[in-house]
Symmetry: C2
Subunit: 317 residues, 2 copies
DNA sequence: CCAACAGGCGAGTAATTGCCCACGAGCAAG
DNA sequence: CTTGCTCGTGGGCAATTACTCGCCTGTTGG
């Protein structure tokens, strides 16, 4: 407990230093004098405040080019919600920018006083997104994971999206204790009868909004990297025309779900019906171009958060 | 129009540079390279983004000391809403910090999809507060000025709070085309029959929330500085026990409205009823201690946004 | 009681940023 | 066409900030 208190004090100090730095506009020297610490310590506190995301920075100006791209995307693909953030050409990150924008959109939903059900996918992008969420108290809402977080070998690793999120916003949460893919349609049927799984399935069906990543396929696909799918099977899929996946659901270049056996083995919660719910894809980057475009073509998602460069590609092609 | 477009482009660039700097975390050198400009220009764009408030920084961590002070204030003075921001001991500003916090609270109200009526006072603090508001589209809301912005000599200067606010958030607005003080109760009665004034009065009565500054009295009071009240009259008031004013309404050290003729000459819209509406005072600093305390004692306000140091005083005394 | 270790601190140093100044393009008035 | 003005630009420099290193302290586990 002493440790907890100390660490709270440290964060308090960090918050105070961050406030003095960013809001009051003081220099670190002045902060050091005010708080009675050395300049270096002040610097550490300020950067801690940033690292711990105590200080939130947001851009409050519609950059014309982004707005325009968003409007055109909205029209072209009949989308409900589009956010286009500026690109950072030199960066190789696949999440910078869209994670913040995604978190802002999730926050909007969470701010509702009426209870809502949010469905959440998984993956690196989603993880980065929910890492950007501020702490909130949302006991009125429920969040449900659309995909399982268990690997083929049974280990429970992977991006722990739903739990981190529940931790941050303090809402009731419904994980999905299954792998993404199971061995057969029959096994899936059996597993889906488990009560825990059924709760997730039922909740997913009535979700008001879903936030999902978009997975590319190919030898370096996240599904392979994370041990959900063997590489030879992946090769067979891409050879058969698979273009991408969302929550494990595989689709071809027109965004039609693959009809082979593969999707019968996907144990994920079905995406909420697009007519009623917002299903928002969060993705950017060259590697995802094909998958994103297919998903948009097939109306698998009806919302999009991406960056300028990706938006241009999606509009041009 | 060309000029407008140019200036928009410049702001666009500023926004982009600010985004790259604060969100993507690039250095100004990198931004210069990305945008094809010199480092100095990049620096200018970044600081322009700050100056134009395109970049919003907020602190997202409850500093324990502030929270605690807020809770105690809430209890002691039976308040609905209290925000305590950290103090910056070295700064002489009377608005840094509380302006941001006030704007955040106003924003919360404005985000409501149901139409609300916000009443706004005037003064330096309020001006600084609404300067912190982001641009929003709020056609469903109405905002009404609680006090006039006409001086004794008829000039229409003063802190132009209601118009700036309406400009920023694009809502219907109802100014109060009167001085704060008129010469007699009879004159007030006549003026209050004017249709423009009556609209403001009616709207003020049904306001959901009011945001007001707290004015101290004395020879350097804002009321005198801004030419609403002669200094000799001020002296008579303080001698008679006046402790402060809110929107022109004078009260004594217990927060009871003065009974002399003065308040019969105040032409402001009456404060909305405290039982139904939130009446939130925004003020900090030694010079306002007495007035703030009196206002809280007399329950003239039922909400408070202030800083740590002021909070301590209000709790200690 | 001691060793190992984590984590904060201060000093020094490299990198980054903010600011001042002189220059030149664009533009309006004379 | 010139003059004077404004505004953006880039260079250079001082201020400020970020990072690295070695030291110290407090904690954990034998």
């Amino acid at each position: 407990m002493a440790r907890r208190a100390e660490s709270n004090n440290r964060l308090d100090d960090a918050a105070r230093a961050g406030w003095l730095y960013y809001v009051a506009g003081r220099t670190q020297d002045e902060i050091a004098a005010i708080m009675g610490i050395s300049r270096q310590s002040a610097q550490r506190l300020v950067s801690l405040a940033m690292a711990e995301r105590l200080i939130k920075v947001r851009l409050d100006h519609p950059i014309a080019a982004c707005l325009q791209a968003a409007a055109r995307l909205k029209e072209k693909y009949e989308l409900r919600h589009v956010d286009v953030v500026p690109s950072d050409p030199g960066s190789s990150s696949t999440t910078v920018g869209i994670a913040e924008a995604g978190a802002a959109e999730i926050e909007r939903w969470l701010k509702s006083t009426d209870p809502v059900v949010l469905a959440i996918g998984t993956g690196r992008t989603l993880k980065a997104t929910i890492d950007q969420l501020p702490s909130m108290e949302c006991p009125q809402h429920r969040i449900v994971s659309l995909t399982g977080n268990i690997r083929l070998d049974g280990s429970a690793a992977y991006y722990n999206v739903i739990f981190s999120m529940a931790d941050t916003i303090n809402a009731r949460h419904f994980p999905m204790p299954l792998p993404v893919l199971v061995s057969s349609a029959e096994e899936r049927e059996v597993l889906h009868k488990q009560s825990l799984v059924r709760m997730a399935l039922e909740l997913g069906a009535e979700a008001d909004a879903a936030f999902v990543g978009v997975g590319e396929l190919g030898p370096n696909a996240p599904l392979c990297e994370d041990g959900f799918l063997a590489r030879d099977e992946m090769e067979r899929l891409t050879a058969a025309g698979a273009a991408g996946e969302i929550c494990g659901w595989m689709f071809d270049h027109d965004g039609a779900l693959l009809t082979g056996s593969i999707n019968e083995r996907v144990a994920s919660v079905p995406l909420p019906p697009r007519e009623r719910a917002a299903v928002i894809g969060i993705a950017k980057g060259k590697r995802k171009y094909a998958a994103l475009k297919a998903a948009l073509k097939g109306r698998i998602i009806n919302g999009l958060i991406t960056d300028e460069t990706t938006a241009e590609y999606l509009l041009g092609a």
